[in-house]
Amino acid sequence: MGALRTWGAIAAIVLSSTAGDVLLSRAMRQIGHVGDLWHRAGPLAVLRAVVTHPSFLLALLFMAISFFGLLAALSWADVSLVVPAAASLTYITNAFAANLFLRERVDRRRWLAALLVCAGVALLAA
């Protein structure tokens, strides 16, 4: 039961942090190259474009859920399980989600990189 609750929390952290990253990426892609916008309209225009973008605001919400999920999980489970598990699994879910929702071309090279980093982070943070 305890293990189920812990893995449930890890799943919630992973899914909300993936949603946050995908939404951030979506917002920034729609805004376009910020360097160009900066040169054209100045830093305030960049700031305004980012903080008023609906996907960015939604991303903040998911990142907050992920953060408080982490705090909650840490209060009953070991940090040496929760942090590496959540950090490394996020690389895999992000590869799926980026392919599905952002239509990024996740080829063999990207999959291999995601899997290697996932395994490496799990070992490093454990």
């Binding site: 992000n94 090279r109 990207r110 990189a113 980093v117 490496g120 982070v121 799990a122 070992l123 490093l124």
Partner: protein, 138 residues
Amino acid sequence: MTLRKYLVLVAIVVFASFGDISLSHGMKRVGTISLARWTELIAAVFNPWVALGIVLLLGFLVSYLSALSWSDLTYVLPATSFGYVLLALLSVWLLGERVSITRWIGILLVSSGIAIVTRGPSATRQPPELEPTTGGDK
């Protein structure tokens, strides 16, 4: 990928790593804060190390958003996972910690992942009909 774009990726790693180190160092000095006395969290912001950490993490956010505006998420995330390696190496150099064989294997795996992804394209070239609709002034 231009040199400038690589520098933004380096900035993401440096800001995130040093931001985390600074926050962690500061919070250790502030001491444990219980949920019942959560208002002490606000006071913690005035600790110089915590304040520096927040500034560094703002720098992280700016460089991360900038990278996402011209790169794929599945490129930026593995490419910047060097932060984990940097943290492990810093703990050896600065704190004199011993790194176990497991962690050395982890460093090797993360580094190979970075080497593989950075040799490929940084953004997906999309056919026009798949191009996301632009919100506002593009």
